[in-house]
């Protein structure tokens, strides 16, 4: 074949293949533009405006204002669908992966157990897990674990390669039972007395240590001490893929890549496996604002977390500036999995709270704080 016709043939076939590939397997980033809305339409519109519609498939929001008249104290809204085109719309009762918001729940659990005299904040973690590899070397205290000062790394070495691979495959990088987790922690070392370093491993160890002291699995303990008393009946912990809520909002990256939800029994207290709803987290936020939730002392700062942040038992305390220039102290925790982002924040001084759950890997923090500082009540 003569050269120029070969080149023309190659170009022609390539263009056809390129168009075909784009139509069949090209990226399909999600968007909330023109997506179905349930609940408070005004709140939904403000939430979408604050976050931006691109790269988000589902959004569920709650804004709490305890100073408002009772019918308006909790406003709920949801936008988008649970999965791809043709799937059901989300509503404020649709479960989302919580990610690290589960750490905040574990902080409440820790505080509750302290209040009951079952553990002490200055107790070394090794004493809660006798017989495990961590028993001998677990010098970090429970408070140090809850404030990321245990000296444990973010992840153990065994999890680093799976985490990197999952970035490309979208698969679940986490695995392991509670005993595996304690073994990983023993290998990494938990000396305590360290500078703040965010540690998923430390958070998971804390939850498993509490479960060990209480003599039951962490999901059961969390339900008994925190979820049930608050009425969070739609919140669950999936320790296997089969336990993932079928009605849940499926995680997805902002660029449209589908990803798997995360499950691993050992890592649940760090945020791997828990699912919750805007409704449930609004109940929790209301109870915390009214000081009726178990373990509410977890929100009180106990140490510095960074230059401009303090930390309670997992709950972070920082100062945010509203549009009118006023300073607001916000107590919060965010969360993220491969394809979900979450935020729960409280302005305790003003009796307000916000919950944002989204199917995306874009941060929702700024949007959530904006909604919190805007206020919840209608004019």
């Amino acid at each position: 074949m003569r050269p120029r016709p070969r080149l023309a043939l190659a170009v022609g076939v390539s263009v056809l293949l390129g168009v075909g590939a784009t139509a069949l397997v090209g990226p399909a980033p999600p968007t909330l533009a023109d997506a179905p809305v349930t609940g408070d339409a005004d709140l939904a519109a403000r939430a979408v405006e604050a976050l931006g519609p691109e790269g988000v498939r589902a959004l569920s929001v709650a804004v709490v204002d305890t100073t408002a008249p009772p019918p308006e104290q909790v406003r709920l809204a949801a936008v988008g669908t649970t999965a791809g085109a043709g799937s059901p719309p989300v509503d404020p009762g649709t479960p989302f992966e919580t990610g690290s918001v589960a750490k905040a729940l574990d902080g409440l659990l820790l505080a509750d157990m302290v209040d009951r005299g079952e553990v002490r904040l200055d107790e070394r973690v090794g004493d809660l897990v006798p017989g495990s590899p961590l028993a001998a070397d677990g010098e970090a205290t429970l408070q140090e674990l809850a404030t990321h000062r245990s000296g444990l790394p973010r992840l153990p070495r065994s999890a680093l390669l799976p985490a990197l691979m999952s970035r490309y495959s979208g698969g679940d990088p986490y695995s392991g039972a509670p005993a595996d987790l304690l073994e990983d922690a023993a290998g990494a070392g938990a000396p305590g007395g360290a500078e703040p370093e965010y540690s998923n491993l430390g958070a998971a160890v804390l939850g498993q240590a509490l479960a060990e002291r209480a003599g039951r699995p962490w999901p059961d303990l969390l339900a008994e001490r925190v979820l049930d008393p608050v009425g969070m009946t739609s919140t669950s912990v999936a320790t296997t893929p089969a336990e993932v809520p079928v009605e849940g909002a499926e995680p997805v990256r902002a660029n449209g890549s589908e990803v798997e939800p995360w499950t691993a029994a050992g890592w649940a207290p760090a945020g791997v496996g828990p699912w919750s709803t805007a409704e449930d987290l609004a109940r929790l936020a209301t109870a915390l604002l009214e000081a009726s939730a178990p373990g509410a002392r977890a929100l009180e700062p106990v140490t510095e977390h960074s230059e401009d942040r303090e930390i309670g038992l997992h709950w972070i305390v920082s100062s945010e500036t509203a549009g009118d220039g006023g300073e607001h102290v916000v107590t919060w925790h965010n969360g993220g999995t491969a394809g979900s982002r979450t935020f729960v924040g409280l302005d305790r001084q003003r009796g307000r709270a916000v919950v944002v759950l989204a199917s995306t890997d874009r941060s929702v923090d700024a949007a959530a704080v904006e909604l919190l500082l805007q206020g919840a009540t209608r004019a």
């Binding site: 190659a10 390539s14 784009t22 790269g55």
Partner: protein, 131 residues
């Protein structure tokens, strides 16, 4: 890390693994005189390797680039460029030697075959992981 900065890595890989080799494919199809400034498609093993790495680069681009910020049409152009490297390699193969010496005059059949097969395996792994 800003999304656009994260996209720089797969975009850079795409330029190196697809666009630059594509120039060599054009030269091979034109059967033109070699010019030092442009890359050269030396043999069929290289054509196979370039096709596989171009597919790998396209797959990484699909996974990692912020398509909620960048027009999806750009991916279509990238897909066409990738197809060109692969299809062009197939069309150029009959006029290419099976194995050519490198610039130092060395023939390294095992190394070349292994390099090409590793590229094919990596591309297949990444693509299948997304299916």
């Amino acid at each position: 890390m800003p999304d656009l900065l994260v996209a720089a890595l797969p975009a850079g890989l795409f330029v190196v693994w697809c666009l630059l080799p594509g120039l060599g494919t054009v030269r091979a199809l034109l059967d033109s005189e070699p010019r030092r400034a442009l890359p050269l498609l030396r043999d069929r093993w290289q054509a196979l390797e370039q096709g596989a790495t171009a597919v790998l680069a396209l797959a990484l681009l699909a996974i990692m680039a912020p398509w909620h910020l960048v027009p999806v049409a750009l991916w279509g152009l990238a897909a066409a460029a990738t197809a060109f490297v692969a299809v062009g390699g197939v069309l150029a193969a009959p006029s290419l030697p099976r194995l050519a010496a490198d610039r130092r005059g060395r023939l390294r059949p095992r190394t070349r075959a292994l390099s090409a097969l590793v590229a094919v395996a990596l591309a297949a792994l990444v693509v299948l992981a997304q299916v």
